[in-house]
């Protein structure tokens, strides 16, 4: 697949039709609720990701869409039809499995042709489509190889071809890149995005890798303990986390406990901050403020900005492209990232260990998380 440049995912036009709709889907294994009351709609042609830590129920949810599991409650609607009780072999979806699940006793060609053969398609039509699929994944000439003669990345692409050759309405991908090394994973991300855009097939992509989800998806559903914590366009998930879990799981985040003293003013251990929030708070309400490390600004001289306080540089982590500062103020640690672009001007200075700096939290960048609790730790 030739590399092409990408339009930002969020500029893409999505279909009006609903490809998959889940209504109040619940699945229990014994006493354990794997998936609890999940409602969501995936639009036609969308690249939709289910993101969450292991054990959050994302794979179970995908398996219910594929038909390998039947929900205890709720309905699975695919292409407008209720498919809750329909077995997997009658659903217009195909799956790319985490371990690929290629048939070891069949050649690449036979693997890809399997689905078409089950549909009793004529031989020459099968041969034509298999060729098309092999070219699609850029592996022509590999027809007679067996899966054990191929690399992990090649096997992954064959699994993809084996599914896509059936022209499914929805392609389900269960952590398809997790078994590959970083470099290959990054390449295949681009390949997958290209493919999805070219074919216009709806992708539902399960991953625990937040970067993968952010790069590839139109929309993301963040899952935790069988429930959807937040569902929205990729940018919204990052910029406006609604729960402490989402703020922590997607990227890094500084969470500051705060108490409202006015509708747009809070009191914290770092001082009083003004907010620029749509919804006003009731005084006395406990909330969490979330701010991304790259959105914190540092100054040597006191700037003429709102929400300014003093902090000490406790640690400096040099990552090449960035300087990460660990700041301590009011008994709390804050992470701050600045680009390493060697410009010494206010807001872009470099600082030394133990230096006392001025920190500014721009009101628009402070996200208020209602509820006030710390939330559950995704890495606990």
């Amino acid at each position: 697949m030739e590399p092409t440049l990408f339009r930002s995912r969020r500029e893409r036009k999505l279909g009006e039709h609903i490809a998959v709709r889940l209504e109040g889907v619940t699945k229990r294994f014994g006493d354990h609720k794997a998936v609890e009351d999940v409602n969501l709609e995936v639009r036609d042609g969308e690249f939709f990701s289910l993101l969450g830590p292991s054990g959050c129920g994302k794979t179970t949810l995908l398996r219910m869409i594929a038909g390998f599991e039947t929900p205890d409650e709720g309905r699975v609607i695919i292409g407008g039809k209720d498919m809750t009780q329909v077995p997997p072999y009658l659903r217009p979806v195909n799956t790319v499995f985490q371990n690929y699940a290629l048939f070891p006793h069949m050649t690449v060609e036979q693997n890809i042709a399997f689905g078409l053969r089950m549909k009793k398609m004529p031989r020459d039509e099968i041969a034509r489509r298999v060729q098309w699929a092999l070219e699609l994944i850029n592996l022509p000439g590999y027809e007679k190889r067996r899966p054990d003669q191929m690399s992990g990345g090649q096997r992954q692409r064959i699994a993809l071809a084996r599914a896509l050759v059936n022209e499914p309405e929805v392609l389900l991908l269960d952590e398809p890149l997790s078994a590959l090394d970083l470099k290959l994973r990054q390449e295949l991300r681009v390949d997958l995005m290209n493919l999805q855009e070219r074919l216009g097939i709806t992708f539902i992509f399960v991953t625990h890798d937040q970067e993968e989800a952010l790069v590839m998806s139109d929309r993301i559903a963040v899952m935790n303990k069988g429930r959807i914590e937040q569902l929205g366009p990729t940018e919204e998930i990052y910029e406006l986390p609604q729960t402490a879990f989402v703020a922590r799981f997607i990227g890094d985040s500084n969470l500051i406990p705060a108490q409202a003293i006015e509708p747009r003013k809070v009191k914290t251990a770092l001082g009083e901050f003004v907010l620029d929030d749509e919804d006003a708070l009731t005084p006395g309400q406990e909330v969490l403020l979330s701010i991304r490390p790259e959105k914190i600004r540092l100054f040597r001289e006191r700037p003429n900005l709102p929400n300014v306080f003093r902090a000490r540089v406790d640690d400096i982590i040099y990552t090449g492209s960035e300087n990460q500062y660990v700041l301590v103020a009011g008994g709390q640690r804050l992470m701050c990232e600045t680009l390493n672009h060697d410009i010494q001007e206010p807001g872009h200075e470099e600082f030394a260990y133990d230096e006392e700096v001025w920190v500014a939290l721009t009101p628009e960048k402070l996200v208020v998380i209602q509820g006030g609790s710390e939330g559950s730790d995704p890495y606990a």
């Binding site: 038909g67 997997p88 072999y89 371990n99 699940a101 689905g115 599914a163």
Partner: protein
Amino acid sequence: MREAATPWERLRQVLVTVGPGGLWLVLFVLIPTLVMLVASLMSRGSLGQLVPPLGLHNYVRFFSDPLFIEIIGRSLWIGFWSTVLIMLLGYPLAFYIAQSRYKEVLLLLVVIPFFTNFLIRVYAWIVVFQKEGLLNGLITAFGLPPAELLPSTFAVYVATVYTYLPFFVLPLYAAVERIDWSQLEAAYDLGARPIRAFWEAIFPQTVPGLFAGFLLVFIPAVGTFVIADLLGGGKVTLVGNLIQLQFGSAQNWAFGSAVSMVLMAMVLLGLWLYARTQGEKGLDKLV
């Protein structure tokens, strides 16, 4: 670069690497087989000892007597059908064990009969089948007349299936245990209904185990003589009984060796045919 090895060094290298295995094969396979081959070409002396003249007379005798042909035919027949019965029982059993939560316990149950002597296990079947035995006790309890179960071909079949079932289940279990079950889901996902999915995605992967199990069961089942002796009485004579008779009371080692060679040749012929139909890889896979 390494210097070329002297002939002496090379001989030493060969001896150290393939030497022990080769010695084992020569001592325990090649020499005994040759001894038997030579014996089969000799004649019976007046005291039962092996004497010249050498010749094919033992083989001529075997193949010209319809009774002997019948015996080997019956052995192959009973051996074959016992093996088929074992496969029908053992195939689902291997799958059942492989996916069970208690597979360790079930495997142990399969192996436990080996803790007891084979002969004693065959005698145990006499207890079951004899006139006043357990099975007849059950039959008469239902008000039916007792059955004449001993000696009978039926009893031979039951004991053969019982004895050799583990030899089939264990290699097949090893093949089944390695199967990645997500392949079955992949087959469903690609539109195969359950039976088709099993047949296309899983069954072909069990074929090597199936053949290994078949051979492990068929070869001893054809050659068995204890089971036929104890449970078949005078009614069922198998090739194993014939060989035993020749080496035992008939005191004709030469003829006994010839019959053994015929049996071995038939088994090798079967293997060769299998290798031919399966191609070069067939035997490799099997072993």
